[in-house]
Subunit: 333 residues, 2 copies
DNA sequence: AAAATATCGCGAAACGTTACATGAAACTTA
DNA sequence: TAAGTTTCATGTAACGTTTCGCGATATTTT
């Protein structure tokens, strides 16, 4: 009746089955073992309700089958969907996910990296903002949306193409003079390329445009001022607006409503990200959709690839346009 | 120049500092050590850039400072916010979070529990649907929204009070005949109490009501049929609708729009959960708000409490009403 | 100043695995 | 049938910590 409350170990199983420790290990790991031995061990495992101790395995083999995901939070739709798909991709490879919410706090990002290293994760996927994040050489790291250094691959949407696509769509839908609303970022990250893509697209299609950038600390009210300043005779001078994110687009839609501008009749709005209501229902606006499942899969793929093939410094994945009610469905003159 | 690429261990630090292994351990864990020793060890740690190996610690001490969170997914606003706050509460206590997305799959829930047990997590918080989930006696478990057994505490919003509050609000806002739209659940979980709370509230305030329950497999179109069937002379016979979740409310709002019913002028709508746009902006509808931060804190509190105080079988936390544009702001006759 | 006591670093054992060398049995070969 | 070969379970040594009894100093007591 002693050690009744103890969790059974391989040793217990070995004793129960009357075999050596190593034999149990082999059975557990599916290595070749004599039929009779295997049956006895399996019976003992069943009887004692034995479960391997991943911590002992991890210590011995220094393979933990765990990856850490660093994102600002899980509340915001974009990040939470990303987390969802990355978890899915990890799970497919039998990996567990340690979730690290950094809340956009640069020092917390660093703390989490340190924690992850101590926790001997097999790799880290990070959507981070700390430009001089210290990551151990020995631990694989894949970055999302930000190039971090020569040996760290970066996965992102094709933001340039996305910006271009937005411009083309607006042109296709009959726009002539459009606005680009974005949030300032000191960081040189991939999403910044939406700007040049959009400019490029406008140029190619003969669209004229104006741009409003929010500075650090500015609230969305700056957008309201900007738009108000561009109303003549009760009518907005823009017939199209490209917003750098769906989040911005959402605010802009509310502002346009306040300013009595009809969407999409008076002005058409395109966002970026592909946020859906409740994560999987209707798009909240017409938008350039980021391929989150592909981004997730690519991150995990790059993180865990066994062969020592050189990892590409940047992978851009194709975006698509989705109608979400804030643009015309088709253009008719 | 040998073992250049190896991660330094305590042994290396001990050698570097010229002290014993145990001394390094004490320094690392903040246990009392002679000043001169401590300085030497700290210098060595700094020099070698040493970091503890949590897996070795976990194996030795069988304390991993890790908790698993089982939720259906992180895409849906309610779950992703929950994950966010639970992560916050865990972090406060220096715990890491293993995220387990079950996708409403009962067998996957079980697999994750097994995985968590093998991973020697210190506890599991679960919002699960498997009625006979097998959880090891030795591992603390806290359930959200579902009572799972005598020794497993359940944390939930005060769903009964929430239903009641919804009825009272509708009454306060001038409603006379209302509808309650819900999704069927074979499970006897806490959210089911929204029904009895609502009925109770209607009774107390003299509201008459009709109820529509979606069966398994039914789509939201059933709600559309139901509402269409209750239109007389182009006018819905309900002046208020209580939806069992904000998700249902959102669908209903779209249906009402299609049926040319004005919200909140013709009919007022109240949802349940407190979902906000982009996780922290405007409520998507008038709603009964679940206190997610408190629920998270309570779960973690119960999970990690050291003293062997008996854990309460059920903790219900107070809900609040929030205006979200789908009810009148005030009632004026 | 010698004995008794307190202080605190030392070294070994243990946590639950995996991997590898060992050797005993079962085969093949001539 | 004896020698050579293969097969495969065994036992032991790690992995990097923590813990704990031991004993060497340093401190107090008479």
């Amino acid at each position: 009746m002693k050690k009744e409350t103890t969790v059974p170990t391989m040793k217990d199983v070995a004793k129960e089955a009357g075999v050596a420790l190593g034999t149990v290990s082999k059975v557990v790991n599916g290595l070749p073992v004599g039929e009779s031995y295997r049956l006895r061990v399996e019976a003992a495992i069943e009887k004692l309700n034995y479960q391997v101790n991943s911590y002992a395995q991890g210590l011995k083999s220094s393979r933990t089958y765990t990856a850490a995901l660093l994102i600002p939070n899980t509340k915001t739709p974009f990040f939470s969907s990303l987390a969802y798909y990355i978890n899915l991709s990890l799970l497919k490879r039998n990996y567990r996910m340690l979730l690290c919410s950094t809340d956009f706090d640069l020092s917390q990002e660093q703390e989490y990296v340190t924690m992850a290293q101590q926790n001997k994760v097999d790799g880290i996927i990070g959507l981070t903002y700390n430009p001089n994040l210290l990551v151990d050489e020995h631990i694989p790291f894949v970055s999302i949306d930000r190039s971090m250094g020569p040996n760290i691959p970066c996965v992102a949407s094709d933001n340039f193409a996305g910006g271009q696509l937005a411009a083309e769509k607006l042109a296709d839908l009959g726009c002539k003079h459009v606005a680009f609303l974005r949030i300032g970022s000191s960081l040189s990250n991939e999403p910044n390329k939406r700007k040049s893509g959009f400019e490029n697209g406008c140029l190619a299609r003969g669209l004229t445009y104006e741009m409003k950038i929010l500075n650090d600390g500015d609230s969305f009210e700056e957008f309201e001022k900007f738009l108000k300043d561009h109303i003549q005779n009760g009518k907005l001078i823009f017939d199209g607006i490209f917003c750098v994110t769906d989040n911005v687009a959402w605010s802009v839609l509310k502002i346009l409503d306040k300013l009595h501008q009809q969407v999409p009749e008076d002005v058409q709005v395109i966002g970026f990200d592909g946020i859906r209501m409740f994560g999987d229902q209707d798009y909240i606006c017409s938008t350039i959709v980021q391929p989150l499942p592909d981004i997730a899969e690519m991150c995990v793929e790059l993180l865990l690839q066994e062969n020592m093939m050189p990892k590409p410094p940047l992978v851009c994945l194709p975006v698509t346009y989705a109608w979400g009610g804030t643009t015309r469905e088709n253009f008719e003159e």
